[in-house]
Amino acid sequence: MLKLAIKSLANRKTSALLTVIAIAVSVALLLAVERVKEQVQANFANTVSGTDLIVGPRSGDVQLLLASVFHIGALNNSMSWQSYERLSQNRQVEWSVPISLGDSVSGMPVVATTAGYFQHFKYANQQPLKLQHGEWFNHSEQAVLGADAAEKLAFNVGDQLIIAHGTGGISFSQHSGHPIDVVGVLKRTGTPVDQSVYVDLETLEDIHSGTPDANADDKSHHSHDEHADHHHPTNAISAALIGLKSRQMALFMQRDINTADGEPLTALMPGQTLQQLWKTLRVFQQALNGISAIVVIIGLLGMLTILLASLRERSREMAVLRAVGAGPGTLFTLLVTEAVLLTIIATASGLALLYILQISLAGVIQQQTGLLFALQWPTAAEWWRMLFVVVAGFLMSLVPAWRAYRQSLADGLTVKV
């Protein structure tokens, strides 16, 4: 039966091929929507790990998270250094890292922070940042580059870079009086870390306050002295990453910070906020799913049309099969087999197409968005989608199969031409 179905299809290669292509493309689309969603979520989820709370100026959770970790969008306000200090001295806090954003180097975001960032920031499964070349910065006028930033800027250890004010690619306000030495390049992480340029918080303070280069040594000297007197490296920061002694306390801390008197702040738990973000985006996700499902159904309807149209020219085939003893039920099975075979081939091709696209576009996607699309075996959700297509194909095949059944009963062994 299968052999017969294959040979019969091979006899109608052109229409079978077109059907397969149409369905395959639609299946690839259906799977791509799921895969993009999955990989984006995985990428985002991988970006922060080990950070229990992110605290920043009063704003939306999602906005704060996107700006502070993903460098998407910007924060309108800042958070005072006093608030940060008070927070870092809270007895629940194990570590805290301040970050200050808003500058860039040729479009790559500059993250001004402390050496604590390299110590505490973790991504994926609690993986720490590692250096590819060089070392961490240990004072101002030094920078460490993310892997992509180093690649795109074509900078390496020993080069000098100029920080521009603002996050655009072109800035009219270049801090050209403050060339900064690249002292290290980070290993690739597949997160927005790769895109960033890391400098010391004091560097940013220096260049914004316009302290001349000549005073740099003097300044650092001073700061050493003044550490004991709680010298402020800067007046305001964008946000703080916080690790707690006990993760269970995160919810209480979050509430405390959000409701505290004084400077209005927002605290968020990264995982929870990401979930909130996905929930917001679910509508779009569902719309995309709906559209791609409709495209699949259109592809299958194309198959239905082709199968139905072929029935007329195949009445000869049906009559011959009837004459050699195939019952109407056998013809029914034959047509269903054919359609299911087509659908399975098409679905497999769609999956292959998805992988081909993923492999060929991975580089471009990473360059454009920083998202690393991991090659992986299809997920359960993807298998379900493929099953949906095959089942839909099967259900559609019942129509021509039923027609063939009825037709073969009516025509018997004769051929109506």
């Binding site: 050699v324 019952g327 018997g412």
Partner: protein
């Protein structure tokens, strides 16, 4: 088992039409080869559809090999047909996309009984099919060709091989020679009858051409056995 075909008080009319067939009694003995002749529109096709069990008689009885067709369910009639009767049609006998050999092998694909009889012969279905095709004059390379690429005469010979594979008790041929020229036609019939005789297959050959009568045991005019005057409304 005395009769390969036995018809009793058969009456058949197409929906809402006049009687097409009215046959009080007719029979074909086992092992006979019979030529049934009638002009087109005389009810030949209707009679064939009744013999094939595609349509059922409204009155009377059609028995093949002592089995009354009206007593069988649709599925059993399909099985009975596949097991016991070989058919050759005027045209459209083969699946164009299968090779000649695969077309012949279709005969056993849907019939366990034919497979069994092939097995009893001690040869595989494929060996037998190749033998038949060779005897009918198809070379090894022609046997592997898609049916669509064969000439009409070759196609009819492939159809004959298929009808005979697995030694069915009855062979029904419906104008199989109408597309052949007279030399090829006579050769074809001689071979067909020769192979049928070896298999002990009863042959009912339906045609409008009276000149073929010489090859058969018996020549019957449909008008002699059918009392209905009208023909098929489709004709």
């Amino acid at each position: 088992m005395a009769y390969a075909i036995e018809i009793d008080h058969l009456a058949f009319a197409w929906q809402g039409g006049q009687l097409t067939l009215d046959i009080p009694h007719w029979q074909v003995e086992t092992g006979e080869s019979v030529l049934l002749r009638g002009p087109s529109g005389s009810g030949k096709s209707t009679l064939l559809s009744l013999l094939a069990g595609v349509n059922l008689a409204q009155q009377g009885n059609v028995s093949l090999l002592d089995q009354s067709l009206s007593n069988l369910s649709g599925r059993k009639r399909d099985r009975f047909r596949a097991d016991h009767i070989g058919y050759i049609f005027q045209q459209f006998n083969l699946l164009p996309y299968l090779s000649a050999l695969d077309n012949v092998l279709l005969a056993t694909q849907f019939s366990p009984k034919r497979r069994q009889r092939v097995a009893e012969s001690g040869q595989s279905a494929e060996q037998l099919a190749i033998q038949y095709l060779q005897r009918l004059g198809l070379s090894a390379s022609q046997q592997q060709q898609a049916a669509a690429n064969l000439s009409v005469g070759q196609q009819q010979r492939v159809a004959a091989a298929r009808a005979l594979l697995g030694a069915p008790e009855l062979l029904i041929a419906d104008e199989p020679t109408s597309a052949l020229d007279s030399d090829r036609r006579d050769d074809f019939i001689k071979l067909l009858l020769e192979l049928s005789e070896q298999n002990n297959t009863t042959v009912l050959f339906v045609t409008h051409d009276a000149s073929l009568g010489q090859y058969f045991n018996r020549h019957v005019e449909l008008s002699d056995i059918n009392r209905a005057a009208g023909g098929s409304p489709h004709a």
